[in-house]
């Protein structure tokens, strides 16, 4: 995982700031190591290897992440499903390989979060069917941002910002007394990374965005991106991007994916039900904003 982590802190002392930032970064690194889908040594790989065989004792971090993942699945009607692994791994977004329809159908059978058992009392995780794979890519970064902020606060930092790629958690206020300004990337086709469609000021909140521009290839004029619908095995087509704002990064990260897959209409309902805020830019480029942040999101460009 090549992820850029940015930690900003407000502090009176450089030494204190450095120490806090380094501790927070080590924590992020540790979480990334535990949950690396591709490293055979990670706890996630251990769980996957033991699918259908036995439960695996895991660290509190992995236990917490997977238990939250189940909760998100339940609250998105399975649109977010951490057991998407067997279908996800059929796609190669680098090489632009689209899997055979029959292979997708075959592997979809293994995608079912209900068969992921998370036993909090015994700190064990068990994939009930052989062939199942958990892919925590849609929740790790947000969770890591939460933990990093926790660490910074423990180290006596009162304000700062942690961005694990696009999963951002802000706390306290900037030295000028203002909230942190977060830019939302423009999801219009062919956009560049620094093309911002809107900004919002945040304090003590997390924000994450799922967009169809992150990992994709185009085949026969059709865009295949990484936000795969666990029901069909194909990329969801209702949205271009979904940004979710909530207290916890573990939820903004995973619900951004879930809401994207549900599409604008059902997605808005889920945000409302959860009490989260968000910006949904649908496949035509039209933006929808939850009532709680209307007037707070500043559009730099007219969506479309």
């Amino acid at each position: 995982m090549d992820t850029l982590v940015t930690i900003t802190v407000v502090s009176r002392s450089q030494e204190k700031a450095d120490r806090a930032m380094n501790t927070a970064f080590s924590e992020i690194e540790q979480i990334a190591k535990l949950s690396d889908f591709y490293s055979p040594e990670s706890e996630i790989s251990m769980i996957n290897r033991k699918s259908g065989i036995s439960g695996v004792t895991v660290s509190p971090d992995v236990l917490e992440m997977l238990s939250k993942a189940r909760y998100v699945s339940e609250n998105t009607g399975g649109a977010f499903d951490i057991t998407i692994g067997p279908v996800m791994s059929l796609y190669d977004f680098h090489k632009g390989i689209k899997p055979d329809a029959s292979k997708i159908r075959e592997n979809l059978h293994f995608v079912n979060y209900r068969n992921l058992s998370v036993d909090r009392n015994n700190s064990t995780v068990f994939l009930k069917e052989k062939g199942m794979l958990v892919d925590p890519g849609g929740i790790t970064k947000g969770y890591a941002a939460d933990k990093a902020v926790e660490i910074l606060k423990q180290q006596g930092i009162h304000a700062g910002l942690v961005a694990v790629a696009g999963d951002i958690k802000a706390f306290g206020l900037k030295p000028d007394g203002k909230p942190w300004t977060i830019g939302i990337r423009n999801p219009a086709p062919g956009n560049s990374e620094d093309d911002i469609i809107a900004t919002i000021g945040l304090s003590d909140m997390a924000i994450s965005t799922s967009g169809d521009y992150e990992r994709f290839f185009i085949l026969d004029g059709k865009k295949y991106h990484h936000l795969i619908d666990p029901k069909t095995g194909y990329p969801a087509s209702g949205c271009r991007s979904v940004s979710v704002i909530a207290k916890k990064g573990v939820f903004t990260d995973s619900f951004a994916t879930g809401v994207f897959i549900l599409g604008p209409e059902k997605g808005m309902k889920v945000l409302d039900k959860m009490g989260f805020e968000g910006v949904i830019i649908d496949s035509t480029g039209k933006a929808q904003i939850t009532p709680g942040i209307r007037g707070k999101v500043e559009f730099k460009k007219t969506p479309a």
Binding site: D2, T8, V9, S11, R12, L161, P175, D176, S241
Partner: protein, 129 residues
């Protein structure tokens, strides 16, 4: 009185807030970049990397650790000076107070600039997407 004690006991210094931004990549690349507060900014760089960004209109004293030792920078009445430096000829200290431009201490690799160009009104602190 040590500088740290001074920092902790000075009420003026208490009002000064320092911002630091650390950019790290999980693949191991290490960079430091700075966040810009509103208004005119005093940028203190060590080895060409910004380590402190301070508002020019807030008085305070900070120090940075260069290869020779601590360089102490003072901000007062919208001016800035290098108060003390471990370098031999102390050319940087002799530059005195400035309101524009830069103070440079080559031996200790410290550069202090007053940045009047950047305003933070529309600065974006992070991008999601």
């Amino acid at each position: 009185m040590s500088l740290r004690k001074l920092l902790h006991s000075t009420t003026i210094a208490d009002k000064v807030l320092f911002s630091l931004l650390l950019l790290l990549s999980l693949s191991g690349i290490f960079l430091i970049k700075a966040f810009v507060p509103e208004g005119h900014t005093v940028v203190i760089e060590l080895d060409n990397k910004p380590v402190y960004l301070l508002p020019l209109d807030k008085d305070g004293i900070v120090s940075v650790d260069g290869p020779l030792g601590k360089t102490t920078v003072e901000i007062k009445d919208n001016s800035v000076r290098i108060q003390d430096s471990p370098c031999r000829n102390k050319l940087c200290v002799r530059q005195g107070w400035i309101k524009t431009g830069a103070l440079v201490c080559l031996p200790n690799r410290v550069v202090v600039t007053i940045d009047r160009g950047r305003e933070t009104g529309n600065t974006i602190d992070a991008v999601t997407g």
